[in-house]
């Protein structure tokens, strides 16, 4: 359960103020499948970063699973990000010198899970995401779709409650984009909350709840 109450995020650039989010009130139920759409600069990414604890609101309260996460210490926020939240980005953000399997293993390492257990879990998720043959390839040797699948595997290996995807298909062609969306919907069926920011109407329309943003405000929500 995500509950945002009167959330604002104001960036100050010199003497100019940018209201990236303006008094947002939003509740997202566990297991929901939500798309966020809107013109460029409307605050979609800012909203996602706030939900993912990568950013702090200027004002307002944010409860995640009934905990006021904005007041947590840096270490506790990192733990919440690690264990409860998964992030997927338009440009994948894989570490180039690590193989696919090693990229997927990173969250497990950060969580202090022993090596043998890690190998088992990575193996399992490689299988689920159909990446077994690519396990020892570096990102530069993978196609865009494969890279995003590796990123999804990395984001979900610790079974997060919420998966945040910021334009996950933005760098992919139509067909591989559809494969990635299918993978996300599969995770939704397993109970993960999915929040996808997208410019693609077709993809946005597939979500069960569609949020429209403009100038830092939610203009429609159905």
């Amino acid at each position: 359960m995500i509950a945002l109450t009167a959330i604002s995020r104001i960036f100050t650039m010199g003497d100019q103020e940018v209201r990236a989010l303006n008094n947002i009130n939003l509740t997202i139920a566990p297991g929901a499948y939500v798309s966020v759409m809107g013109p460029s600069g409307s605050g979609k990414s800012t909203l996602l970063n706030l939900i993912g604890l990568l950013d702090q609101p200027t004002s307002g309260t944010y409860l995640l699973e009934n905990i006021d996460v904005t007041s947590l210490s840096e270490t506790d926020q990192a733990r919440v990000r690690r264990e409860r939240i998964g992030f997927i980005f338009q440009s994948f953000h894989l570490i180039p010198r690590l193989t696919a399997a090693e990229n997927i293993e990173l969250p497990l390492i950060l969580d202090g899970i022993p090596s043998a257990e890690r190998k088992k879990r990575v193996q399992a998720i490689l299988q689920q995401t159909n990446l077994l043959e690519r396990a020892d390839h570096r990102p530069s040797e993978l196609s865009g779709g494969q890279r995003q699948r590796v990123a999804i595997a990395r984001a979900t290996i610790l079974n997060p409650a919420v998966l945040l995807a910021d334009e996950p298909t933005g760098n992919l062609d139509h067909k591989t984009g559809a494969e990635v969306i299918a993978l996300l919907e599969n995770l939704h069926h397993q109970g993960t909350t999915i929040i996808t920011v997208t410019h693609d109407r077709e993809i946005g329309a597939r979500a069960h709840r569609k949020i429209q943003m403009r100038d830092g405000e939610v203009v429609s929500d159905d």
Partner: protein, 400 residues
């Protein structure tokens, strides 16, 4: 993140940026090697001088006529004036003193030596047979048995002198002339080379009574005394001082120096020198530290998105700071190891090039060099690592 995983992860990062790793490693290694080699050089010089002193003989006490004002004034006595003579009788009075194993009165001067029409100038020492024992001199042939006198007119020739005057090698028993006096060659020194400015190869030794007659003096240059043990040096000095004071009408007009005091002074000076030199070498490590800091700052800005990603998947500030600190720790350790190896090879090279110089790097210097490398590496990476830890993940990730 467990400590072990942090070590492994940072090690893999180090290895994957090979050029950067080699650069930092080299800078560290050269700094460490410089400390090791320069301390080896300093220590070698110290030991060289100490060995030279030891070759003088052990448990030496030197009595010099004249009183220097400063306590233990070795230098002052060397240049000071001579108010009262130190005589052969003064020397003889030492015989019965406790703690004195042997003593040798000494007169030194220049003289002409001639034999078989050949003529040259030599350094002439007048003393007794004890001098040979005290100064650890060795005779290749013959013997020298002079005591306080009167003695027969016999001389011991340095190996080089003997060879020059008697190229056929039949010097022993021959007649030579020193100044206007005739001597018989009673012995020849073994080749020993120079030690502490006295070259026995070019020395001629005659009995003390003949030397005093030759130089026309009653006054001794000095008296060399060998104490019974190292711990006997100080008490024996006191006894000698008291005995000579009594003989000189209650006046303390001699300077008595223990060999240990001279040794200690030189030891102190040379140790300070070694420290200063290694301190200078340590500066190169500090320079390496600045290099490390810059390279790491570049690394942090190159890997900004990676740091943002690590934060997005749940790395804490501490995790990220540790990863960057460990990267430099690995490099510092590797640099220290390579530097120690280079330093020991360099010292070996020094010893091969200058066999007289015992240029062994002291253990403390090697340990200090390693510690400095590690501390420098860590210190230099604190700023870059905490900069990485504090990066704003949103901004870091939005950078392409």
């Amino acid at each position: 993140m467990t400590r072990q995983d942090a070590f492994i992860l940072s090690f893999r990062t180090v290895v994957s940026y090979r050029l950067r790793a080699i650069l930092i490693l080299l800078a560290m290694a050269l700094g460490v090697a410089a400390v090791v080699v320069l301390t080896a050089l300093g220590e070698g010089a110290r030991r060289f001088v100490m060995n030279q002193f030891a070759a003088l003989g052990t448990n030496l006490i030197i009595i010099i006529p004249g009183r220097s004002e400063t306590a233990g004034g070795f230098i002052g006595a060397l240049v000071g004036e001579t108010p009262r003579d130190l005589t052969l009788d003064d020397a003889a009075s030492l015989t019965a003193l406790p703690g004195v194993r042997r003593f040798a009165p000494l007169n030194v001067g220049l003289s002409e030596i001639s034999a078989g029409g050949l003529l040259r100038e030599v350094t002439l020492a007048g003393s007794t047979a004890s001098l040979i024992a005290i100064r650890r001199m060795r005779l290749a042939q013959g013997s020298f048995t002079a005591d306080n006198g009167p003695n027969p007119a016999e001389a011991v020739l340095g190996a080089k002198i003997a060879h020059e005057l008697f190229p056929q090698g039949n010097a022993l028993g021959q007649r030579i002339r020193l100044g206007d006096r005739r001597f018989r060659v009673a012995g020849i020194f073994a080749m020993q080379g120079e030690s502490m400015g006295i070259n026995t190869d070019e020395l001629v030794l005659i009995p003390i009574d003949h030397a005093q007659a030759l130089f026309n003096t009653q006054s001794l240059f000095r008296i060399m005394v060998e104490a019974e043990s190292r711990s006997a040096i100080e008490p024996t000095k006191k006894v000698i001082r008291a005995a000579l004071k009594l003989r000189h009408d209650g006046e303390e007009d001699v300077t008595i120096i223990g060999q240990d005091a001279i040794l200690a002074t030189f030891d102190k000076i040379l140790r300070a020198l070694t420290l200063a030199v290694s301190g200078i070498a340590a500066i190169s490590l500090a320079v390496a530290g600045i290099l490390v800091m810059n390279v790491m700052l570049v690394a942090v800005s190159q890997r900004t998105t990676e740091i943002g990603l690590l934060k997005a998947i749940g790395a804490t500030h501490t995790d990220i700071r540790n990863l960057f600190l460990l990267e430099t720790l690995w490099l510092a350790v590797a640099g220290a190891v390579v530097g120690i190896i280079l330093g020991y090879l360099g010292s070996l090279g020094l010893r091969l090039a200058y066999p007289q110089l015992p240029a062994y790097p002291p253990i403390w210097a090697s340990l200090a060099a390693i510690a400095t490398a590690l501390v420098t590496g860590i210190a230099a990476s604190i700023l870059p690592a905490s900069k990485a830890a504090r990066l704003n993940p949103v901004l870091a990730l939005s950078r392409r």
